[in-house]
Symmetry: D4
Subunit: 249 residues, 8 copies
């Protein structure tokens, strides 16, 4: 029952067309049926630019095509995460409007130009070349949400001069997404240089005691720099969403 339905019901009550008791009975279940609009500003926000997102892992190409078509029909842009090349090819043969980004393993469809109301530019840094796929997932997510983004890749702490060479981005960005595997020290160093929020993304890059990204994750959670918060290992998409939310004017 939406607002229109509620108005109608109350009109019936006023008009005596329905008893108060039956109206109570129908209203009793209203919270369940309509809590959707109780999700406060969620849908509105989505309409302002955030694409609909599918988790691609475990979905067949057919499922991805079907759901995407339905979302496109409703005017939504679509972002599908974790789509490898084989699956992307299968999807694209049915959905030629879609674009695949193999490094970031993202599949995107733009039906509408996205233009978010932003506070500034988001920076995406990563420590090594092996961290680039996760950084790209973040970057493309941010772009799909309509925000400007600048990148600085391969600026890990074992060669500080490379990071310090990114002075302009360090000075200008409103939010930082910092991606690193192995010891995961880069977010601490960035967090020590700037005074704006740093969203840290540990990656599973490494071997032995990296334990699939655990070492980097723990390093980031224990960061001695203020302003650093952390998302799941390899979750470039999640970091991109957090950064875009922060950057919304």
């Amino acid at each position: 029952m939406n607002k229109q339905g509620l108005l109608g019901l109350l009109e019936e009550v006023r008009a005596g067309e329905i008893s108060v008791e039956r109206a109570v009975e129908r209203l009793k279940h209203w919270p369940y049926e309509d809590l959707g609009f109780a999700r406060v500003d969620h849908h509105r926000a989505l309409r302002q630019g955030r694409p609909e997102v599918l988790y691609g892992e475990g979905k067949t190409p057919g499922q991805i095509v079907d759901i995407s078509r339905r979302l496109m029909a409703a005017g939504s842009n679509v972002l599908v995460t974790r789509v490898d090349e084989a699956k992307a090819a299968a999807v694209r043969s049915d959905l030629p409007e879609s674009e695949h980004h193999p490094l970031a393993r993202l599949l995107t469809v733009k039906v509408d130009e996205v233009k978010a109301d932003c506070r500034g530019t988001i920076a995406v840094f990563c420590a090594g070349t092996s961290d680039v796929p996760v950084a790209e997932e973040a970057r493309l997510t941010i772009e799909m949400m309509g925000h400007p983004v600048k990148t600085g890749y391969d600026v890990g702490v074992a060669g500080l001069h490379r990071l310090l060479g990114e002075r302009e981005t360090l000075e200008a960005a409103t939010v930082f997404v910092v991606v690193a595997g192995m010891e995961g020290a880069l977010p601490s160093v960035v967090g020590g240089l700037v005074d704006r929020p740093v969203v840290a993304v540990p990656t599973s890059v490494g071997y032995g005691t990296s334990f699939g990204g655990l070492a980097a994750l723990l390093g980031m959670l224990n960061s001695c720099a203020a302003g650093v918060s952390v998302v799941n290992i390899d979750n470039g998409f999640g970091a991109g969403v957090v950064a875009a939310m922060i950057n919304r004017a």
Copy 2:
């Protein structure tokens, strides 16, 4: 060497009072001596309201008093974390201007009124009454940084109606700090209701398989709601700083 010194040196070069070679020699070490101002906008930011912060654990009352006095003399407000009642009493007998917040284990000194340039109000939620100390650490940190804050305590997921009763805060806040121990599910639920950044804080509240907050931490890192990022277990201070940074206009 500061900018004044650099100007002076170059004037000497122009005036021929110092050879180019000796000037090169002196400039060679300049990066180390002046990188402080290379920290981009850090100091300026601090001057805009962030208090100087001390990690109180492992420091004696005497050390806390000494460092605080020096910071106060420089016009800074002071925030000391993890100060228990005994230590606070010792500090306060020497530093009566300081105020102790026993629940949050914070000690604060305000020499100057703080007034940050904010985007809105920050919400601090926590799941159970045992999570309140960590939530209070976040709340007071936010206040010390000059941001308005609203709280909703004891709104855990096992009684959804309590959270949903916080509708106004859910609709209005610009950032959410969400504190929870045990299974740590509250940030996911909040993140599903709103479309603004959620800074999740796991607490060590629980027993057995809570493993000192690990269960809550993992729950938050695996949140299926977008917009959630996480800080260290019991790190209310860190979450407060992140939230205030996000909320800065």
Copy 3:
């Protein structure tokens, strides 16, 4: 707003004393205010016998007394978990109606006789004498919920004859709460002997590789016997609630 309030509002609508628009406005927030009764059958169930429960850890004696008095005034029995002897003494000097069970670390107040509608008797077994406190927590919780309970203590798998000596209970009980530390094998053996639900409780009894109950927990989760489900380490209270829910007619 409760059902009475809703009736009143609709009466006003019918009587034209309030405009439909204003009624819509008030009803829009109703789900939040009233979801309590939306918790389906929860409150009703409670009224059928379940006591109100407080987690005693981290609460002061004063807080426990205050909350208990309010609950008692509303006609509820009260169960406070994890109350040690010192705290219990402090509570009892102010609340002489309360009773302390030191082994189970429970504090109880009965204002009303509890009589649940049961399917049969619940069995509580434990492996060793060191597991008795957790087993007692389960037993007393079950009693406070109005269910009959039989116990078989110190019947661990290293002496099978002791367990098999509990034949009558094994044959008769409708649900089993099985408590064990160390290797946690007892629930598997009980689950292999009976065809009714077994609620397994790992305890932190042991040393070295028991890792505070982790060994027992993993043993129970990997049980090769069907019908076994598990609660948190040392959570006798939780197991008691699950067993009573199952046993409700």
Copy 4:
């Protein structure tokens, strides 16, 4: 030696056909030989509907066919868990009476209609579409044990309205099987809405810090909602058995 044999032996003793000493010797070993019937009500229960169950992993198609045929000859229904498509095809070419359920990876044979004596309907909920295979394993197990079951899939906590839309099932079911991966928060939320037993199943759905289902498992074990017990990661079968046992009249 069964009851008949015992009677015969005692008749011989009475008739003096066997000395008391030799009878003692034969009876000394009786417990071992006959403890089977000491399994209290186990066999009887099975005959009331529970199918014989095989763990399919690590068994060849030939072994599965052989054992199934023997069980079918004895009048038992058969349930084989963890059978992938290739193995199922091999089995079905020899055992065309069997049916394969690829999503749930179950293989079933019904020789007899199962009709359990039930208390009500069992609900199976799952959080995301990736959790459906485990939920289906639970659902089919419950059906094979002769119980009615209703499902609510993709009702995770990041979109509360979907769960609350399952109001009828929430109000009516006697037991809940709640399946969730990632942060595993759904059982807590369900447990907070209802007052009947919730059997929680963590799944290995997720990546990074989900650690193969560990995050979900810990979340469920630390649930702040009463009435929640937990089975092994991905153990839909086990949860189905527990739920059916609880639902047996």
Copy 5:
């Protein structure tokens, strides 16, 4: 019902003093009542010298005295593990026959001289002086079971000459109990020098990454020397029992 009772019952059957049916009824429960003697050779073994053992942790002095007196009355020697000095003093004031071994935290009572039928001498080695308490627990357990024992303490792998100086014991012993904390390498080295069983005991000696004995445990389980098996961390008692069982002729 013991053997005598069984004989009596069968005599009654033969004499016609009890019907076959009633005898069947009584015998049906016999396995449960008498499985004790079904524990094969257990009791006989105990009578050959093994003392009755109590786990002292969590038992009051009074409980220890009571149980010990009952065992002593039955002619058993008694071994109580994990008894600290305070508890031992309390026990000994009531039970002056008992002896306390503070290093090993054992309390012993000998009512009877123990003389096991042995194959040879058992060796107990430990790596460092901090491992001596656990080694002593093993040594005294072995003595209480009536076996000869020789010790070699402080013979860790960082000074091989000390271990090799124990040549006579290395050549002569029939079983080895090898106790080590930290990296736990000693059992591997001993296992490489001899061709007889090595029972390895990890200890919780160490700090940091010793993780309470986990490092030593893992080292021992991964021993590249054949013939090494392992018991729980700090379980000198358990190792002593295993060694004595092996050494029994």
Copy 6:
């Protein structure tokens, strides 16, 4: 330098054919060169029947053939562990005397009949059919060392009657190898029934929280039955060696 060489050297010293100083020089390094015979009774023991053992994993078929031939030439039997079917076929085409045991993944060559001097028969039990490969590895190892062995497979604790049906083996064996995955409870139950050494082998059988055998391992290390010691996960070979060492007269 062997004993013969030492005798020769000393003869030269006596005959004055070499100076004392040069003899000292040569003897100074003797410990290193000859410590082999210092390995006490090792070689003698091997000559009594233990085969030479190769760890097959990571070795090529060619390497296995080469080393085996050299050992065979020296009169040794050979046991190669962890050899899969493909590698075994390659080895056997070059070494037709070898025999492959696919279940146990062992490859054996017997050049000599092995006849150990034994104390009795070794029992090998396992809990489920999936544990049989590890149990077979133990059984074949024991046989290769010349000891008699009896097996009892699929006797897990969820069906106690099956284990109790192995009464004769339980009564007669001198040592027990007990293999179990999942919760690993079988060694505790066996250890509670007998009073002889139990060598427990955890297996990686299971899923989810079995964590590759960790659950079973922890269960066994925490066994409340005396006489149980443990080897590495899936280490059937190691358990066989320990059992054979114990069983040597």
Copy 7:
């Protein structure tokens, strides 16, 4: 801006060709642009012999060829780690000057003879034949850095005489790289025999509780021998670099 540029700029200042203000502006950013030479002695050190190193994992053959060519053009030797046979073949068809070391998975290009200024010979020991690949990675890294190296392979602690047979290397080497999997005890034993630095490398060799090298790592970190430090699991390259740095005169 390099030194030459700085000189030029200052000459312009002196000549009055540029104003002091503009010079300050340009120098303000100098630290970032030139911090490279601020890396103290790094580049100089590299020019003394250390090859440029690429982490081969995750790089395509084409990328490896491109980067290598550029480094070779600059006169650098090149060392690419973790290159398997297929990738090596692809690289070598384009870069025939390169050499592949399949066991060590290294690809090397020597454009210049390397001759480091050394203190002595580095020893590389490993415990078992399965550890040889990691040891070879260390050995070749050391050679590429221009240091002499001696190896002692398969000298694990279960056969001490083999290690003690390496007396000459034990006496002579200036640094030790000690590689071991399983229990990782070899570095402790070597560290107890010598008084020079031991760089320990745990390997992932083993199964079950070796947990991919964790057991060996913990053993090495807890070494009771002084002088032992540790690198990541399987990090032969890193250990080689540390040893060469130590060995530099």
Copy 8:
């Protein structure tokens, strides 16, 4: 038997005063008795300056005094680790020559001036003030071994300018001991700036996910900077020994 004894024995052989057979018999055991000198250069090294070291934890003041006196009598300096203030006071009342360093928890006795033959100065850096005790343990150990040492404390990565301000030490030191808790990123940054060995020491400083130093340890083991090796958590002593060994000329 020492060299003198060996000479005497051979003289007897040459003089025919002892038969060759008896000489063989006595020499057979010589390796065990004399392996001490087989520890290659160990004792000599110790005599060159390294103090004798006692692990103070678990030793009584009396034991420490006794052992120290014996070592002092032999002319050795003494270093006792992990001695708290109370124990130190007790020791010093009996051993006034000893000195206590409360921050480092070390107790030292110097009977002889130590003067090692060094290659240069060792640097000890630490990240935060809470890491100072571990850094001091390293510094004092290095001094006791006769090496010059410079310190740079509180130079963590969240304020890079502080570390870069230590330019002179960075340029001059021959070895670096780098101590850090929390995320443990400092060794990576130092290792990226210099080309000499870095001995990294994780500390247990931190809370929550620092897991007692595990986060810092993993960070250091995964360092992307070459030249970094790691010791146990809080093991300042061990790092000091490694650094001094490296610095020995």
